[in-house]
Structures are given as structure tokens and as C-alpha cells.
């Protein structure tokens, strides 16, 4: 395939789509499927048949449309009307009323001028809910692989890295390491064999950003990885994806096959000298495999236990070779950066945190779902304007970002801008994008206990502080929650947390105490209310009872 062929393919697809008067997009992501969206698909098709519209209207399953709490969701294109809680009757009405007669079905329509939608800025999710994830043509029709084409035909690897560096994008997996810098390091390491690895082992409980991208727009990841491969000089990429995401795996497999078939992956991509292949590796349920050295071991078919760094994977990674590791959301940003230029990306967000971030908004909040917002947006805007605040009759207490590695942000810091540095300053982290809202009914000691329970279960067991320390931190939290702990126990808890944080081998252990430390920082009184004083010597003059044995 040549660049011209790619353009032609895009035009063909655009022409094909133009033949339809409407495109009915039903959400086929896990959330909506579980409330019956597949049944709704059948209903829509049946209704269309009844009205003889089957040839004029296309019914397409898409990735996540965001408003997961109100599924099943159906979108009507080209108008962009979004319907929520579509049941069988509503499906029939959408066809009968909206498509045939014109007026939209008011009972189910979603107000997309609501801040939940209006305040979003979509780069990563731009195609989610807009295209059929199972057809490469649809991705190509919306400028897909255009960036890759430009890269392999017009740009030198150094220029690609420079463009990524200038965009200011930082790793979306949590730590926020500048992506361009990382690419530059791997490029400089001399080696014939290098690898690109995409971390799609989204393990943060309560986060499903990456899954939505993988399910809704898999080609975007392939394109980002191929660009990375070209830039650093790699010919092989791996996507490490969780086994818990069967649909994402299926779509990725399909996407890889399609891309290979049309020559966008494989040898001599777009008739250039660049060869790049991508293979899938399926995780098997280990949160620690999100840590890069553990992930590499897991790809190598071994126990996912981290090893000390340095050497960093950029120097010695997969099978000892220089390896570039980025997460899904990072790769998803690459094609738009190349396509639109680094200065376009740079202008989004704030200077030190550019671009957007996807969050999975959940917990005690009215509008749950997936949102993509510009970096630097105040937390208050996310929670109250977009999320609609906490349920009736309760008050906002805290928002947890960064999952088990992160921290909670209390009401007094609601105005914190959501960017890497500001979140660190209030004791949390950007993390991969989980955002759980807690209200006045949430007990913070319990919350800390929940996260610690998670961390102790997910500890790989290699280093002592994490393997044993997390068990004891959890035990102390249980003791405190049960009202059996003394002030001495609280002191020990804090010391243990600091020790585990500073001495653990990998990021899991080093960040495991964060939920405890951050709840202690902002909600210490909730701990102290549960404590008693340790018993001490009582001189006989003071005690009334003769305590004898």
C-alpha cells in the first residue's frame, strides 16, 4: 500500500458512509453490554427493517460513549443526538419518530450541552462512539494512519522525537515522565534489536480508560506504536493487555490482522524501508505487572516480579534489549500530535502538563462515566459541574485519584488544578485516571483499609517491606477500625507506612502506603476518634478499686 492508496481508501469509506442517511451508533462497551445494548441493537435493526430503512441506516457498535451509568446508549449520526437508557420501546421510537418523522425522542435524549459533555476536550477518545472499532476503513476515513504515513515518508526519526518532545506530552500511566525524553533515550542506545511495548495492563480498580480506548479505537494504539517504533528504531512491538478485557483483546487481534492485511503493519510499511510488527501478550491477573520491569518479565513468560532499576528498560528491557514502554493513553495521543503538530497539542492544558487526561469518574457521584478533560482543569469543575456532585442529601468528602497508589483530595483542596505537579502537592498523584468520589457516608479508615487490602493481595512477594509490611499495615488498620488500637498503634502505622514507601523495591510497594498517608494527612481525626490510650501504671493512691489478683 502506498500513501495514495491510503487516501483512496479513506475516500472510498467516506463515500460509502455518505450513502446512509443516518448512522445509529450503539455503545458496545462492557458497561452498556451489561445493561442489554446487544438486545437494543437487534431491536433497532428490526425496527429499521419494518420501516424499510435497513439500506439507508447503518447500525454500528462503538466504543464507550462516556455516560456509563445511564446505559444503554445510542447515538444518531450525523445529528449527534445521544439517547440514554434505551429500552426496547425507546429503540423503536428512535426509529419510528426520530428517523422516520424527524422529532427527537425527548424522553431519552441526553442534554449534550451539559458540562459533562461540553467541558470535555477529546483527543484520545475522539473516535470512541464515532466509529466502528472493528473496521480499519472507518479509522482511515477519520484521518487514521495519516500520521504514520507522514512519519515514514517525510520525517527522520529524530524529527519525530523532536515533535513529541516539543508537544510536552508526559507519560499517562501515572508517573508523568516526559515521553519525548524517554523516546530520545531509547533511540540513543546502540542496538540492532529494540522493542516497543504498550502497557495495557490497566489494573487500577475503578478505572477503565484504557479499556475504552482499546475497545473503541484500537488502531489508534497501533498507529502510535508504529510511529514510536520508527522513531526509536524498533521493528517489533508488544501490547500487554489484561485477560480481564476479552473484548479489547478480540478487537486488538482483529485490528492487527487488518493493519497487516493492508500493509500498515509488517514489512515495508507504506512502501518505505520501515518494518514493524505488533504482537499481543495477555496478562493473567497481576496488578504488579503494570510496573515496567514486572511487565517485561511477564511478556517473557515468567513470574511478574519487578527488578531493581537501573538498568532501566530503555537500556536493558525485554530480553535484555532496549525497550520503550508507554501506556495506552500515551500512545493514543501520538498520532494526533504528529497530525496536528506539537504546537497544537502544546496549547491544550497548561505549560507543564500539556494535552488532556481521561478520567473514569465513579463512586458517590451523580454522573459516572468516562471523561476527557484538558490538563489543569480545577477538580471542582470535574466533580460538581461535570459529575453533578454527590447524591442528594450527602456532602462531598474526598476524591481519590491514582487508585491504590494515589491519595485522596479533601474538600478544602477542591480548587486544585488537575495536573501532575498540583496533584503531587496535595499528596495525590495523577495516576492512570481513576477518580473515585467519596461522600460524607464514606469512612476514611475503611477506605484506606480497602486500598491496603488490595495492595497486600497484589504484592508480588519479592521484597520484604512490601510483602510483609503491607500485611501489617492492613492489620493495624483493621485494629483501628475495630476500635482496639491505641495511640501507640497509630504511631507504628505511620512509621511502617513511611518505611514501606521508602524501602520497597518497586512502584507498587513505594506507593502502597499513599492512601493511608493521605487519609491520615487530611482525616486524621477519623483515625484518632477510634483510638484509646495505652494502659499505664496506676499508683495505689489514684485507683479506687483494690486491683488484686
Amino acid at each position: 500500500m502506498t500513501v495514495e492508496d491510503l487516501q483512496e481508501l479513506a475516500e472510498q469509506e467516506q463515500a460509502r458512509q455518505a450513502k446512509f442517511s443516518h448512522r445509529l451508533m450503539y455503545c458496545s462497551a462492557a458497561g452498556c453490554v451489561s445493561c442489554g445494548s446487544l438486545n437494543i441493537r437487534d431491536m433497532l435493526k428490526k425496527a429499521l427493517q419494518e420501516k424499510n430503512l435497513a439500506d439507508k441506516v447503518e447500525v454500528i457498535g462503538t466504543g464507550c460513549m462516556g455516560l456509563c451509568g445511564e446505559g444503554p446508549l445510542v447515538k444518531v449520526l450525523p445529528e449527534g443526538t445521544l439517547y440514554q437508557r434505551v429500552d426496547e420501546a425507546a429503540a423503536k421510537r428512535i426509529v419510528d419518530e426520530h428517523l422516520v418523522q424527524g422529532p427527537i425522542v425527548q424522553d431519552n435524549v441526553v442534554d449534550i450541552t451539559h458540562p459533562f459533555f461540553a467541558a470535555q476536550f477529546k483527543i484520545v477518545l475522539e473516535n470512541c462512539g464515532r466509529i466502528d472499532a472493528e473496521r480499519i476503513e472507518e479509522y482511515i476515513a477519520v484521518n487514521g494512519y495519516e500520521a504514520l504515513a507522514r512519519v515514514v515518508t517525510e520525517m527522520q526519526p529524530g524529527e519525530v522525537i523532536e515533535e513529541v518532545r516539543k508537544s510536552g506530552i508526559r507519560g499517562r500511566g501515572g508517573a508523568g515522565y516526559p515521553t519525548g525524553l524517554k523516546w530520545g533515550i531509547v533511540r540513543k542506545v546502540p542496538s540492532d534489536t529494540k522493542y516497543v511495548v504498550c502497557n495495557a495492563d490497566e489494573g487500577d480498580p475503578g478505572a477503565f480508560m484504557d479499556r475504552s480506548v482499546l475497545e473503541g479505537d484500537p488502531h489508534r494504539i497501533l498507529e502510535g506504536m508504529a510511529i514510536a517504533g520508527y522513531a526509536i528504531g524498533a521493528q517489533q512491538g508488544y501490547i500487554y493487555v489484561r485477560a480481564e478485557y476479552p473484548l479489547a483483546i478480540e478487537r486488538l487481534r482483529l485490528a492487527i490482522k487488518q493493519a497487516e492485511r493492508v500493509g500498515l503493519l509488517g514489512n515495508r510499511i507504506l512502501e518505505s524501508q520501515f518494518n514493524f510488527r505488533i504482537d499481543l501478550r495477555i496478562g493473567a491477573g497481576a496488578f504488579v505487572c503494570g510496573e515496567e520491569t514486572a511487565l517485561i518479565r511477564s511478556i517473557e513468560g515468567r513470574r511478574g516480579r519487578p527488578r531493581p532499576r537501573p538498568p532501566y528498560p530503555s537500556e536493558r528491557g525485554l530480553w535484555g534489549m532496549p525497550t520503550l514502554l508507554n501506556n495506552v493513553e500515551t500512545f493514543a495521543n501520538i498520532a494526533p500530535i504528529i497530525r496536528n503538530g506539537s504546537s497544537w497539542f502544546n496549547a491544550i492544558g497548561i505549560p507543564k502538563s500539556t494535552g488532556t487526561k481521561v478520567f473514569a469518574l465513579a463512586g458517590k457521584i451523580r454522573n459516572t462515566g468516562l471523561i476527557e478533560v484538558p490538563m489543569g482543569i480545577p477538580l471542582r469543575k470535574i466533580v460538581f459541574d461535570m459529575g453533578g456532585g454527590t447524591p442528594e442529601g450527602t456532602e462531598f468528602k474526598a476524591a481519590q485519584t491514582g487508585g491504590p497508589s494515589g491519595g485522596c483530595i479533601p474538600a478544602e483542596h477542591l480548587d486544585v488544578p488537575v495536573d501532575y505537579e498540583s496533584l503531587n502537592a496535595v499528596g495525590s498523584i495523577m495516576g492512570s485516571g481513576g477518580m473515585i468520589v467519596m461522600d460524607s457516608t464514606s469512612q476514611m479508615v475503611d477506605v484506606a483499609k480497602y486500598f491496603m487490602d488490595f495492595c497486600k493481595d497484589e504484592s508480588c512477594g519479592k521484597c520484604i517491606p512490601c510483602r510483609v509490611g503491607t500485611v501489617h499495615i492492613h492489620g493495624l488498620l483493621e485494629k483501628i477500625a475495630a476500635g482496639k488500637a491505641t495511640t501507640d498503634d497509630l504511631g507504628l502505622l505511620e512509621e511502617l507506612c513511611v518505611m514501606v514507601k521508602e524501602t520497597s523495591l518497586c512502584g507498587l510497594g513505594q506507593s502502597a502506603p499513599n492512601p493511608v498517608l493521605s487519609t491520615l494527612r487530611f482525616f486524621r481525626h477519623e483515625y484518632e476518634e477510634l483510638l484509646k490510650q495505652p494502659e499505664t501504671f496506676v499508683p495505689s493512691g489514684n485507683g479506687n478499686d483494690p486491683t488484686t489478683h
Binding site: D488, E535, T536, F537, V538, S540, P546, T547, T548, H549
Partner: protein, 178 residues
């Protein structure tokens, strides 16, 4: 004024007390300087109040031990874990992986020479706790004398320092488990 000293025997083999007796002629010296207000080797029924120093041998292994530990804490200025069982649980804690019922059966039935029977119907016999645990997990402990058993020299150093009104720093010199 003589220091009021108590020694207590919880879940242990009494080896630590034997080691205490190994102070030999130093015991005479000691007798001039302390009053032994409570001990398994003294006929005192009730644990007194305002004890200056209490040495506790053995792990906390039954409900009586636990209750007693709290009493010791309230009534003693200075509590010392005396020997490895009090410090770590040690041999007393080796049964912790087993069900208490199995432990009782083994001790009172399988190994009995006469009248194999679990002595359950005596209210004076305290109920075994699921696990024998070190003293400091129940009460605040002020000092530790290690060893199984601690040597007479260790004990002598510790007691001497206590008599001088110092918190014994012996552990650094005499730190030895087992």
C-alpha cells in the same frame, strides 16, 4: 529503700526462673537490696500494687494470662519481658498453627498416663487462647531480657541496672535469641 520486685510465670517452662536461681551467691546480695513481693517461688496469693519492677516469664497463652498481664501493667512501674517466650512467643507459640482442641487432646488425652480427659469442667482452669503471643502485644513493656533461657549474667546485669535506677541497656550487650 528496697526495690519491690515481682516475678511472674505465664506460658513458659519456668526455665527463666531457673536461670534466675542460677544467680547463686548473688541471690544473697540481691536479697539485701530488693523485696520479692510476688513470685512463683514465693508464697504470695495476690499480685500487689505499686510494684517497682515485674519480670514476666512466658507468653500470654490463655485468658487468665491476658487478664493478669493487664493487672501487672496497672500495678507495676516497670515491666520486663523476661526470656524469649515473653519476647517472641518462642516455644510456647509453636502450637499456634494448631487448633486449640487438638493441642488439648494431645496433652491431656493422648499423652496422659492416668485418667485421659480434657479438664474442661473446672472453672479454675483458664481457657486456652487460639494463639500464644508475646507480652508486648497486650501491654506496654519497658525492657526485654532475651534468651531461652536468659543467662544468669544477663539477668544480673539487668537487675543491677534496675537497682541503680537505670532502664537496662543490657539488651545491646546481651542481645541473643535462643
Amino acid at each position: 529503700m528496697k526495690l519491690k520486685v515481682a516475678t511472674v510465670w505465664l506460658g513458659g517452662c519456668s526455665g527463666c526462673h531457673m536461670s534466675l536461681l542460677d544467680l547463686d551467691e548473688r541471690l544473697i546480695d540481691l536479697a539485701d537490696r530488693i523485696t520479692l513481693v510476688y513470685s512463683p517461688i514465693a508464697d504470695v496469693k495476690d499480685f500487689p500494687r505499686d510494684v517497682d519492677v515485674t519480670l514476666v516469664e512466658g507468653a500470654v497463652a490463655n485468658v487468665e494470662h491476658e487478664e493478669f498481664a493487664h493487672l501487672i501493667r496497672r500495678n507495676s512501674r516497670f515491666v520486663v519481658s523476661f526470656g524469649d517466650c515473653a519476647v517472641t512467643g518462642n516455644v510456647t507459640a509453636m502450637r499456634n498453627g494448631l487448633d486449640t482442641e487438638e493441642v488439648l487432646k494431645r496433652s491431656y488425652v493422648e499423652l496422659a498416663d492416668l485418667t485421659p480427659r480434657i479438664p474442661r469442667d473446672y472453672p479454675t482452669i483458664a481457657e486456652l487462647m487460639p494463639q500464644a503471643r508475646p507480652l508486648h502485644e497486650f501491654i506496654t513493656v519497658d525492657a526485654f531480657i532475651h534468651g531461652c533461657p536468659p543467662t544468669a549474667d544477663q539477668i544480673w546485669t539487668a537487675v543491677s541496672e534496675l537497682l541503680e535506677g537505670k532502664k537496662p541497656a543490657l539488651s545491646h550487650v546481651f542481645l541473643r535469641y535462643g
